[in-house]
Subunit: 223 residues, 2 copies
């Protein structure tokens, strides 16, 4: 048995792990594509591997399943045999990376995902199935925009190309993956008034790691 | 200048860091109490230290501010000079700890905080100020209860005292701090049908670390 990454469809979570691997270097993985669009993640064969039925999932040599993107990225960073860390080399650097990762995740990415799930577009996308999270749309947007403004001010004050310096680390990769996958259906994400966030996004999109092979094959439907 | 922990009022976030320190051991910190109830966190003197105005905040010797509880706990775990790690000793152990930490945080704790913020109790608590997050109450509760059920099944299947074995690690401490601080105003958290979660909570509450000195002096108002 060897370590396997069960990869998902074009969506923010699988993209985040794929981009992390491409930026990190020093990693070779067996990748298994799971056709979530046709519910292969609910297939007994996959549920036997990952009882949560979520993607992506990293299955270690002993069968341990890591089914959370932040935990997967931290694990891959630790075991990579070459390349440069995307978490940090000192306790203080790692603390800043983890602080920004949780901040962009909890206060921006999860908020605009929640906002989108409350939309008519999302209900159509899920073929009429109204998934939980409808309601509170204005509030989710309010919080996400407030924290995007804070990120804009942070990028302006630090005069750095990325959230924590000259190269993208885990928080850049996580936030970019969510915005890249969702901005067509969450148009307020790319408000040009946030010039520093927009410029950061353009720099991320120009990275060699963001190639068609890494990009989702298709995107979720645009309005 | 020495490392300082700016501690907050009786509330889940400050409690999580305080409990982590007590369980971890090997840490000595200068603690500064900030009277958030009277908005001392908006005082220019504190904003000059932590521009986000949030508590708790760990200020390192060089002035670096770590204002996220998960990042603070990971940092303290790395620099502790005695005691036992609450994150893990191998990459796989750390990955499981981080997976469960993000899961209980994102899918349980943040959900019931959001549920509570939409309540009349919360509006009264904030003295009539309706903070964002009102709306979507039923959905927030639905997601939190779904993941509490999953946690109950996990505890049942593993037959372990705590989420990842015989002693509490970061996810136990984080989730307990939130439930401890909030269950009086979020009564469905302690549904006796989830017997394994209830038994886990009782075990956590009996820990020596959960002493009156660690506990919040008062709790948020009960209904």
């Amino acid at each position: 048995m060897t370590m396997k990454l069960y990869d998902g469809p074009p969506a923010p979570n699988p993209l985040a792990v794929r981009l992390f691997i491409a930026e990190r270097g020093g990693l070779t993985l067996d990748v298994v594509a799971v056709d979530l669009i046709h519910l292969a993640n609910r297939d007994p064969a996959f549920v036997a591997i990952n009882p949560f039925g979520t993607l992506p999932a990293l299955v270690l040599d002993d069968g341990t399943v890591i089914s959370d993107i932040v935990a997967v990225c931290e694990y891959l960073d630790e075991i990579a045999t070459a390349g440069e860390t995307l978490i940090g080399t000192t306790p203080a650097e790692r603390a800043l990376t983890r602080m920004w990762t949780r901040r962009v995740d909890k206060d921006i990415a999860q908020r605009f995902i929640s906002w989108w799930r409350g939309s008519d577009d999302a209900i159509a996308f899920y073929q009429g199935h109204r998934i939980p999270e409808v309601g509170g749309r204005a509030d989710n947007r309010h919080i996400a925009e407030q924290h995007l403004d804070m990120l804009d001010a942070h990028l302006a004050a630090g005069d750095t190309a990325h959230i924590l310096g000259d190269r993208p680390l885990l928080p850049d990769i996580l936030l970019f993956s969510f915005i890249f996958s969702m901005h067509a259906v969450v148009p307020w994400l790319m408000n040009p008034d946030r010039g520093h966030v927009t410029a950061w996004y353009d720099r991320m999109q120009a990275r060699p790691a963001v190639q068609p092979s890494t990009r989702p094959v298709t995107s979720i439907p645009t309005r």
